[in-house]
């Protein structure tokens, strides 16, 4: 019976079998890093500010004269994950329609940004908010109170959209 001997044990040289030189080599690399500049971010204290192109939590734009959203329902229609639910109502403002209810289920949201792309009023945009922690399924459904963000906090994204959308 032919037997081909090619186990790992057979392939290793004597020094390799000892492992000690290899450990020393590895430690050498580790110690070298001590004297190089550090990249680690001290996260909760030290935060990262994304650029305008970042797609974080979708939010509604709160303009000087109120919310921009007219509850057309296109975001809800285009959302591939069905995360958005809109219920329209009538207002006295020039644009007759407004969202009585606007809910985004953040457990469904996949941050694709289609809602922002389809929005005819530039009312829903992806914010820089990436800290999404919920303690229950119900908490993950964000209503209008949590979604409306003043426009000055969203300038970066709006400029990005105007340039590239």
């Amino acid at each position: 019976m032919n037997r081909i001997n090619n186990t790992e044990h057979e392939r290793l040289t004597f020094w390799e079998k000892l492992y000690l030189p290899e450990i020393a080599k590895g430690m050498g690399i580790t110690f070298r890093q001590l004297f190089k500049p550090k990249f680690t971010r001290q996260y909760p204290e030290e935060r990262w500010e994304p650029t305008g192109s970042y797609r974080g939590r979708p939010v509604l734009v709160l303009d000087e004269d109120g919310e921009r959203c007219v509850a057309c329902g296109l975001c809800s229609r285009v959302c591939p994950a069905l995360a958005i639910e809109v219920q329209a109502g009538e207002t006295e403002r020039e644009k007759e329609r407004y969202p009585v209810k606007f809910e985004i289920n953040m457990l469904r949201c996949i941050f694709c940004g289609f809602c922002e792309e389809v929005c005819p009023e530039e009312a829903i945009v992806m914010s820089k908010d990436y800290e999404l922690v919920f303690t229950s399924q119900e908490d993950a459904i964000l209503g209008k109170d949590k979604l409306l963000v003043p426009i000055h906090k969203l300038q970066d994204r709006l400029e990005f959209l105007r340039e590239y959308k």
């Binding site: 007219v70 329902g73 229609r77 639910e85 329209a88 009538e90 007759e96 329609r97 005819p120």
Partner: protein, 588 residues
Amino acid sequence: MPILYIDGREYEARKGQTIIEVAFENGINIPHFCWHPELSVAGNCRMCLVEVGLVKRLADGSIQFDDNKKPIVNYFPKLQIACATEAVDGMFVRTNSPRVVKAQESVMEFLLINHPLDCPICDEAGQCKLQEYAFKHSTGFSRFDEQKVHKPKRVIWGPNIIFDAERCISCSRCIRFAKEIAKQDVLTFVQRGDHVTIQLHEGTQFDSPYSMNVIDICPVGALTSRDFRFKSRVWDMSFNDSICEGCARGCNIKIGVRNNEILRVEPRTNPYVNRFWMCDYGRLHYQYVNNNRVIHPYSRVENKLEKISLTDAIELAFQRLRAFHPSEIMFIGSAKTTNENNYLLVKLATEVFNTQNIDLFEHYDEKFGDDFLRCSDKTPNLRGARLVGVYPSETSISVNKLPEAIKSGKIKALYIIEDDFTEFPEIYELLDELDLIITHQYNFNLLTENADIIFPVTTFAEMEGTFVNIDNRVQHFAPALVTKNNLRYMGMKMSRLDKFGAHNDRWTKFELRDIHPSWYVFKLLANRFGSNWNYRKAEEVFMDISMNIEGFNGMTYKLLDEYYGIILGRAQNPEPKVPIYESHYMKP
């Protein structure tokens, strides 16, 4: 019979037909906004422009041929509107030549110049003829940089209609509808050019009982419903075919549903019943399906209604009914419910109880009827109910004799389904003298306050069945709403939200009612009394009807759907199928 050629194919026209009519009957769609088969021809949208020509003839009238033996056609230098050009013999029509396409694109560009970009706000979006054509017959971009004309928005035209002048494309369909169909000539064009708009005559309002049909025929969102305003997007709703049960006409309708709630009702074309129209009453009286529903069986214990299970309710009804002599029980069917339900009620009364005390209340309102669609008979199925056997024999007790019979103690128990005594208030005072009242109800009402056992049952929107309308036409309808027991009836349409919702989505938290159609309750009750009924669905009850009741012979649900309902006794030779005109053909 004039013979004409549309896009190179030969078609035969009837004398006096216009090109667009011939094209429509032969399945060619010529784009149009203002033409409607039921209305007079206005010819003012210019969308249906086609190239028209006649064969070249010699002085003696013979046709001139070219070298390839084809007739030489002289096309008119200007395009003609297909809706107002009569088809004549030897006419050649091109509906999609480059000239025609260019004309259509130009017309669309003109129409869109002053049309506001309101689609996100507009209720018509998603079912808009202008949107459809902008998608299909337009270049896709605008060259117009100037200010759009501003006109009044949110003009109240009547109790049910709101008008937005900016969105109007002046097709005049509403003006013609008001004048010709609704017979309330209150609308007119005012101003000229791009300032043209539609106004009501001074001091009038458009409050005809048929006013809401203008919402359907309006090709844009200029006319919208005040009731439905902003309730939902059309693409979030499911539309299932049904029959209106407001009166005996039996108009064909579509029920628009979201979250298992009826949001609107709109007419469905049936050339033999309602054609394209329905009345406002029929559209707006769906609220009883959504609200105040009985969703549990109840029994009365010490003058209070208590929820019980369906099995217990059947058992209780069995125990209580058994105590009476059959002639002491009065069965009251309903002209408001289907043939299937009434048929099994009759079967229950005659076969299980062996009594002929069966009758129903007729609900007439002379003020309601008119000479168009509305009937004085405000129930959808009086004829059907009578036909399947809901009538007393000569010796038994009818509803007219009922008050006396209750007073004299001849009738001690009342089994009444899906009806109440709203129009017969004198009976309410006698209810205390009865020992037992069993009722099937949709809503809590004065009768449920007096009843001993209440079974919750499905309304027309939640079950399958047939109605027989005033012209003896048997029409089938299917459920539009979901209950626990019809969970997705075969073929029921679902909206996208319905389809993909999960249990933890908030939009799926609708009321899933645990209710059955009346015939199912009769089946349980009859089987408790020892019969052996094994109907599994309404269709099987209808098969029974079509075998046993004269007039229904040979009818099946499939056949009824296919021929838009069939007149009694004409299952073998139903009225012919005709092409159905859909104004907004992309409408869900």
